[in-house]
């Protein structure tokens, strides 16, 4: 027994165990706090508000997921199955709305449709005195759909590209019409990707705080912030968080249960489906996709650019440079930590599979399923506990120190980022390891190379494109992140995301336009690198074959 444990005890295992513990402990805190007696605020929330929060949350995620899944699937289907002019350009540009955080899109469309906004002025100029109010539940659904559908699009596109033509041909030879082939074969085979993409959309929707606060759509993340900062009642916020976590886990569990014994991939011999020219009646498809891109990216960016005309001396000043450096440096730092830990976790996962490994990795990747507001509470409480624990040590180093050190520092925010985005980094790196297999690593071990040397000289060079993808996706997510940053940042510490939120909350959209544009530009550049690095890699694979 001791020999077995000793043989498995290495850098990868130890790091993975510690990472898992650091995730479990703060989350367990949430459930432990549930045993505390109910406060007056909680009784008020439960009696008068909880029903509304639940209803609004379900309505929002129901419509956002249906619309994002339909739009993402449609876009992926048109891009992978039809040939038309501009297809390649559209193929990566359709991901760009992901660079626009939903709260920024909400501020822009909120302003454009206000009485003095571009849209209302245009309506009045053509003699129409109507007015569109986007600051409603319906508006929130549309904006979430426009910013989040790329998750579904990316996943389904990849699944459709991998779908073997023989399934479709086989169905046709069995007499199935084109519609039957689509509904009974193509769509069900893409189901795992469709569901995974939609699940990401749901999680991102539940995580959002900026948009729902601005539009006053009272959903759970709004409620958690409200309980904490308006009622000043952390315990009520924790109770709401626990309910939200149960909803999230319920959704994940339900999907697994529905899937049952079914599988969606059977063999690896894939002959891709050939793209066909659009028929006359289908020529509207690319037009629709360009319109989605216009509403999801081009129009908000143009409006923000227009705002900058009035932002004369607030343009690039020292404060702005400071913000950019802040945002980028913390995102780079947290990304680096995530990638390093994800490499350790992926190595821990290699070798013989065991149920312990499987469950432990699920735990370490739990953070992404937990909305930012909930995670923020968990991390905050954990850091305060740590401060209490380490207080004697602080006193020893500096006798005049206060009680709170870690919880007032940037380390708390970095820790929360690591917890939340670990799954994103891990999944990308794990997929790369899966592709290269284990024979190269085993060959190196057989040649007496140490674990670290093998990692450095064999594994990492082989998975470098996967590492780059992981780093870019995590970086984009962190730079856009709002709820965690708002709650856990040290006083007077701002990132581009928080300053945009602050200005926009004060109706100062002109001031918000520059940081918003910089944020979108950085994220768009990253998306460009990501999509083009992948395309290059794809080309290299084809040549090799």
């Amino acid at each position: 027994m001791l020999r077995r444990i000793k043989s498995k005890l290495n850098l990868f295992t130890v790091t993975s165990i510690i990472a898992g513990l650091l995730i479990i402990i703060p989350l367990l805190n949430i459930f432990v706090e549930l045993t505390a007696p109910a406060s007056d605020a909680w009784i008020h929330i439960r009696t008068y508000l909880l029903g509304r929060y639940l209803r609004n949350t379900f309505v929002l995620i129901f419509y956002v997921s249906i619309l994002s899944a339909s739009l993402g699937f449609f876009a992926a289907y048109v891009i992978t199955r039809y040939e038309f002019k501009g297809r390649k350009l559209l193929s990566w540009m359709l991901i760009l709305p992901l660079a626009v955080p939903s709260y920024i899109m909400a501020y822009v469309y909120g302003d454009m449709t206000s009485y003095s906004g571009t849209v209302s002025r245009f309506f009045r100029s053509i003699g129409y005195d109507g007015y569109i109010n986007v600051m409603t539940m319906q508006g929130a659904v549309i904006i979430f759909t426009l910013t989040l559908y790329p998750y579904v699009y990316m996943m389904v596109r990849s699944a459709l590209q991998k779908q073997s033509a023989s399934f479709i041909e086989s169905a046709r030879l069995l007499g199935a019409s084109k519609w039957k082939v689509f509904w009974r074969v193509v769509l069900p085979l893409a189901r795992p990707a469709l569901v995974a993409g939609t699940l990401l959309v749901v999680l991102e929707t539940l995580n959002d705080y900026g948009l729902v606060e601005y539009f006053n759509v009272q959903v759970f993340s709004f409620a958690i912030f409200n309980a904490w900062f308006s009622f000043g009642d952390v315990i009520s916020a924790i109770r709401l968080s626990a309910i939200l976590m149960l909803i999230v886990f319920g959704i994940v569990f339900l999907e697994r249960a529905i899937r049952g014994r079914r599988r969606y991939n059977l063999h690896s011999k894939t002959r891709p489906v050939e793209r066909v020219e659009l028929k006359n009646s289908q020529k509207i498809y690319p037009v629709l996709l360009w319109m989605v891109l216009a509403f999801g990216f081009v129009i908000p960016v143009l409006q923000l650019l227009w705002f900058t005309r009035f932002a004369n001396n607030t343009l690039f000043n020292i404060e702005m440079m400071y913000l950019i450096v802040n945002s980028i440096s913390i995102a780079v730092f947290a990304t680096f930590i995530i990638v390093v830990i994800a490499i350790m976790l992926a190595n821990f996962n290699r070798g013989r599979a065991s149920s312990f490994k499987k469950s432990w990795l699920k735990i370490t990747n739990l953070g992404y399923a937990i909305p930012g507001a909930v995670l923020a509470i968990a991390v905050h409480m954990f850091f305060i506990d740590l401060d209490h624990m380490f207080y004697p040590l602080y006193r020893f180093v500096n006798p005049e120190t206060g009680r709170l050190v870690l919880s007032l520092s940037l380390s708390m925010l970095v820790f929360a980022y690591v917890l939340r985005f670990m799954a994103i980094g891990y999944n990308s790196i794990e997929a790369s390891y899966d592709k290269i297999g284990e024979s190269f690593t085993e060959a190196a071990y057989a040649l007496k190379s140490s674990k670290i040397k093998t990692l450095w000289t064999i594994d990492l060079p082989l998975i470098k494109t996967g590492l780059l993808s992981a780093a870019i996706i995590v970086f984009i997510d962190i730079i856009k992140e709002l709820p965690l940053t708002l709650i856990l940042r040290p006083t007077n510490y701002n990132t581009m995301a928080t300053i945009v939120h602050e200005y926009a909350s004060d109706e100062m959209l002109i001031e918000a336009s520059i940081p918003a544009l910089v944020l979108i530009a950085v994220a768009s550049l990253m998306i460009y690198i990501l999509t083009h690095a992948k395309q290059k890699r794809g080309a290299a694979n084809v040549r090799k074959n």
């Binding site: 073997s164 023989s166 399934f167 041909e169 086989s170 169905a171 046709r172 030879l173 069995l174 007499g175 199935a176 019409s177 039957k180 009974r184 074969v185 069900p188 085979l189 189901r191 014994r261 079914r262 599988r263 969606y264 991939n265 059977l266 063999h267 011999k269």
Partner: protein, 228 residues
């Protein structure tokens, strides 16, 4: 003649003929093996017969129905051609029953069930009716793929390298089973292979294909006598 193929020509790109002036006739119930190395055009020939590729020239008539000629082209889904793919192409999200019933949607529900049962009996897989493809071995998957292709009573059965995914021991067994099932149903069949043993064991006639042309033809009298 039950199957008549006349002067078939096909190329994926212009000026590059993959199938070059192929003509072939078959009697009802005959099993023809098309033997050739990879790139000889044998799988392409099957794809043309099934309607998955449209030939540049030529004529295909099966059971007195013209499937392809100068002015005629019947789409794959309307051809009533059964095909077993090299990778079997069993739909992974459907169980065995649903896979076999997929091509029977025109039948009333009760007839559909009976036909599925009949097919499973034919391939001796009745107990696997609820299994999903990933729960079956390679040989079992092949039998289900065969049952699915035969269920709608096609006018011809096409098999694309049916043994390439099986290991040697299993291959010998499955080869005999396949031959027995095809003969039992008296199904006119064409299968392509690169392995002479496969062709020798099953076919009534072997056709050699090279660079898209038929270069030789051998009648396998031992197989024909066995079935008579």
């Amino acid at each position: 003649m039950y199957v008549k193929i006349e002067s078939l020509q096909f190329g994926y790109v212009k000026d590059e003929q993959v199938i070059n002036d192929v003509s072939l006739s078959m009697k009802e119930g005959e099993i023809v093996a098309i033997l050739g190395s990879s790139g000889s055009g044998k799988s392409t020939l099957l794809r043309i017969l099934s309607g998955l590729e449209m030939p540049n020239k030529g004529e295909i008539v099966i059971n007195e129905e013209t499937l392809c000629a100068t002015q005629v082209y019947i789409e794959a889904e309307k051809r009533e051609v059964g095909m077993v793919f090299q990778d079997y192409a069993l739909f992974p999200h459907m169980n065995v029953e649903k896979n076999i019933a997929f091509g029977l949607s025109r039948l009333p529900k009760s007839c559909r069930k009976a036909r599925v049962k009949e097919m499973l009996e034919l391939v001796s897989m009745e107990e696997k009716i609820d299994a999903y493809p990933h729960e079956l071995s390679g040989g079992q998957q092949q039998r289900i793929a065969l049952a699915r292709a035969l269920a709608p009573k096609p006018s011809i059965l096409l098999l694309d390298e049916p043994f390439s995914n099986l290991d040697t021991d299993l291959k010998l067994k499955i080869r005999q089973e396949l031959k027995m099932i095809i003969k039992k149903t008296h199904m006119t069949s064409i299968f392509v292979t690169h392995d002479y043993e496969d062709a020798h064991d099953i076919a009534d006639r072997i056709i050699y294909l090279e660079n898209g042309r038929i270069v030789d033809e051998i009648v396998m009298e031992h197989n024909q006598q066995n079935t008579q």
